[in-house]
Amino acid sequence: MPGKLKAKIVAGRHLPVMDRASDLTDAFVEVKFGNTTFKTDVYPKSLNPQWNSEWFKFEVDDEDLQDEPLQITVLDHDTYSANDAIGKVYIDIDPLLCSEAATIISGWLPIYDTIHGIRGEINVQVKVDLFNDLNRFRQSSCGIKFFCTTSVPRCYRAVMVHGFVEELVVNEDPEYQWIDRIRTPRASNEARQRLIFLMSGELQRKIGLKVLEMGGNAVVGYLQCFDLEGESGLVVRAIGTACTLEKISTLPSTTTQPSNSSPSKDMKEPVFGEEAPGVPLSSGPPTPLRAQTFSSFSPSKSYSRQSSSSDTELSLTPKTGMGSGGSAGKEAGPLKALLRQQTQSALEQREYPFFTLTSFPPGFLLHVGGVVSARSVKLLDRIHNPDEPETRDAWWEEIRQEIKSHVKALGCHAVVGYSESTSICEEVCILSASGTAAILSSRFIQDGSLDVEHRLSRQPVVFTSGADRVEGDMGSSASLGFEEVAPPGCGFCHIPYDELNIPFPAQLTYCYCCRRNKVPDVLFTTIDLPTEANVTGKGCLIQARLCRTKKKAQGEGNATAISNLLPFLEYELHTQLMNKLKLRGMNALFGLRIQISVGETMLLGLASATGVYLTALPSPGGIQIAGKTPSDITYEQHISNMQKKINDTIAKNKELYEVNPPEVVEEIIGSPIPEPRQRSRLFRSHSESSDEVSELDLSHGKKDAFVLEIDDTDAVEDIHALLTDSPTPQGFYSCNTEIMPGIQTWTSAIQMFTSVRVFRLNNLNLTNQGMNKIFTDLCENLLKSLYFKLRSMTPCCLCHLNFTVAIPEDELIQVAVTAVAMSFDKDQALENGMHSGEKTHIKAIHENDEQLQFNLELNPDCLTATKGLADVTGCHPSAKASSLEKNSPLPEGRSRSLRSNRSYSGGSVAVVKMTPLSFIPGAKIIKYLGIINMFFIRETTSLREEGGVSGFLHTFIAEVFAMVRAHVAALGGNAVVSYSMKECVFMENPNKNQAQCLINVSGDAVIFVRESELDAASVQPQSVTTQTSNGGEGT
């Protein structure tokens, strides 16, 4: 019996009227965990019942603690008929199982009903006593920390990164069980909610076990998804990166260093395992013999029920250490090649050298190859045995293998920024995976505390002689030399592959920063912009949108049709991205996310990324239009007009995004083609883009290599589309990554939002072009609406602007976007415009630390007055306060202490910030309280009365936000970071006046402290006064 779960029901408020006669409610509460249920007394005739129950104790296995949610049901007692349910609260116990996370869940939580929404709130307290069972880690994985954040969490440092973990569990969907025909919608929804809770718990536990096996203590970049496969079942799957994390001491006196560069010089003992110990040379292989292309876009890797057999890339695995003759005579070359080989082999020994992380401490990421992606079309069939989800496992395995082979083709050994997704329409399912091929410093993987100081202060170098490895501190000219060779600002741009075996046509130049290594002309990645990267100007959101019609079909035929369309779709998305990138005068994409959605009669493709100008990469050439028949004069004129427009746009964009790289002497070297052609044709001309061994003559030549050839109407449309993208309004910037290059001076004003739109196509006989235009307009209009809504925040940047598209019904397109608007200080932004992001980061964290110190000193004096402050700074004081209050038998005492603690009663509700980013500007995260992973279903049979579909969804999203905030506040937190809405499935049936929606959200609950507590000090008294003035009402 390794754990005791304790729950106490304190009070309720704002309950709905359940008895029409008296306008009151006789409420009582059922508390259920597993198969054990407790009940409170009935509190008669009140809408604000005070149960003040005893502590209900559940003695349970910790395995159950991980799997099961605590289920609280509020009911209305009815003497004569069955008791009516008011609503439920599901509480995830998981954060309480980890010693470093939350210690108590205590607060007002919304009572939720799937038909009526939020119906009042209930004040509960939940605690867990884990018995000190040494063996407990063997049976469950209690204590493993989970983070949605895709970087090393702010108050931790990674001692070791173990690698990829994945798991999936399947079950029958209750909505499709026979019993669903006879039960109420409410019962059905609740069965589904509960099942998904259970499945996520189980999934998390299983992943945790894998992490334990690997020797880790945390999962970072945890990404959990649902596949609602309808008749064939329900799949919950998750991927993540197993790490060993170490908490950085938050004592302000000891560390004023940036979180990821703790000054502690204590080296971890090198771990000698099967994997090679670290190769510290941050610059990595300077072997300039590998060529690079814009990306390793691999569009055609989609098959209908076929195994991916065409992986010829495997043969292209770069031969490391070979042929370094052309490498500008670096003595260290062979040595490093060897080192690299080792790193590579270390990683290759893993089944999947994948990392879900998107940003890394400096020095971890050595080189970036480009985007790798794989898709496959599958036909769903019923999952016969939920305990053996082998088919689904095999599908993903196939895809991952394919990704792995692409990575090899790019001369890389790892995938970073890895993610997986699905799109399901009826029985067809598209599985997608994408990531960025990269070469990592194995030191971090091996014993790597991800720690800059560390790396710079001591550079262990591995000498290789036969099988022996000696690790020593070089500190010699050699290692210094390497540092010199590859400054951190450009190192990751250097090509990781063999110049002579370029997997793609590419144009290589020497790096514009260090002038020693080769870089590609364009770089596409799925990761965030590395903080150390040298960037010119600012970035911007770039989207490629595409809509393709398809014939209705069934089964195999349908799957084949889709997989035949996919390559073209990806290819065109890629072309669009490339064109739009050039149009902005930029040369690299970060955070690239390509989403393909399948519907019955169409396929939608949406690619979003953040374009930047990497200083290390060559300046992109302009776009040139060429006509097919130069004889016609009007035609020529038309073309030159368009050309002029394009040139103007490029010039305007360069100014807008401050892309003004220093002029450098062009020297193109090492282009693999002896005589580069002046013009290459538009990408569309070769549909075999998937082909890694494409003909050499497709590569670009000199500067103005990018030529759009107008040989058909399509291209004309394309160019028009290119120019119709309206620029972001004055004062706005946008990106889909964590940070915006060129902006550092964030203010503390942030506004997270979710916007959902559903469009109906009224005319289905549209051409592809027509559909494209509609889809593009739709996205553009949505963006314009966002800018307008948030105009009061300018100057501001919309960060993490990620769109999710879906085709819920035949002629419906659904676009959902969750992002955060962050204000910044314009003047300083201009001043520091050219600085790299890293500096501000460090600066910001410095300030944080100082502020924290200040805050702690200040805190005791104003503990009673500034409840928010107390809440934030010390979970210990608040925990103590709440334990005191439990002993107090008087309700007055309780409410008072509660108020001073977390402002539950009467007063205003504690503010909880939400953001999709991993940080909060102007604040420092001092504690992670656990993962928030919530799933809700809402259904209505009175759609019109609830304000139609918009009213219904608006309320539901607001309710979801409210529930997330309440649960975070109950954990003692004041913010959710890395928040995302992973699922928003909306269905309607207006004829029956019905609608249903499923939403899945996740994030990390945290406690943060403001950089300037002056803010807090000025805000607090205000809220205290409001509280006292209306205090009488709530209690």
Partner: protein
Amino acid sequence: MFVSDREQSVVRYNVNVEYFNTYTDVKMSVELDVFVGNTTIMDKEVYQLWLNGYTVNDAVKVRIDGGIMEECEVSVEVLISDTMDQYRTFQMCERLLHHPAKLANQLLFQIPPDRQAMLIERYYAFDDAFAREVLGKKLSKGTKKDLDDVSAKTNITLKSCRRQFDNFKRVFKEVEELKGPLVENIRQRFLLPDQLARDYAAVVFFANNRFETGKKKLQYLTFQDFALCAGQLINNWTVGAVDNMMEDMDVDLDKEFLQDLKELKILITDKDLLDQHKSLVCTALRGKTNVFTEMEASFKNLSRGLVNIAAKLINAKDVRDFFIDLVEKFIEPCRSDKWTSIDVNLYLTHYTNSAHILDTFKHHGVWTRYMGVIKTCILRMYHE
């Protein structure tokens, strides 16, 4: 199981027709469009339009006329979308605004305290023109039914009239039975700023005592005129005004005081006293005003009028006629004699003070309490 039938989907709700039409090619229509912020975004301007009872289309027109399209470079679609979205937010908030205290501890919307205060203040703000129409009427369903007349007369949308009426009624019901000072009760229960709470107190006080304000002769008086008078009455003539323990309510007039007022009749029934009073006042006024002759001539009538009003106040029916009586018995005669406000002030001051010098007059306390209010009210109500 949730069944969505893919075949039929013809009728759409909640998307107004114009929105369709703005998409000129009609190739697509917006089926659903929501925006939800973690901190609820509310545009003050749109909120005011909503409060004013404008439809979405009208609100969009007003915004366009305000030049927002040029200022922010937005299209009509964006404006419509934003306006509809905001309207929906306000509708969802309205339920909470009915109990302002709940707004602070509800969880559904995260609204900063200053925003909450703004929302409440504007929601409860009312048009004086509207209040003037409803003032003194019973806040009943019957009155609510007649609001379309009020709307037509005041040029305030019916929707806005209904909201204002419901606010009156809600505040009235809430504080009707409460003990303690009326203004303070309203201020605390509805988290209103002081001035607004005072105005509501006036509305409640008038509704409770059913003062007649609709007569033609009273039409020239504004809401603020009455509000000031109500403030005077509340502060001086209710039980709460004298009893600091606030045992009783502020809403009703002090019965004991009204009883005592009958004693003042001596000022007009006793002929000697009346003459004495007149001569004292005339002596004091002589040479100080241009309308002295008129004052002297009408003294007895005016004094009779004021004292009679006082004596009758014990009857609920006469309380209702309080203002009309003041106008008929005092203000109108003075006005026809072309008194200035200064004249009225001068007259009332001496009229009040002289009574204290009368040897046989004993009711100084009641007289002061009565005349203090009367003087202030008359001065306010005396529009030259």
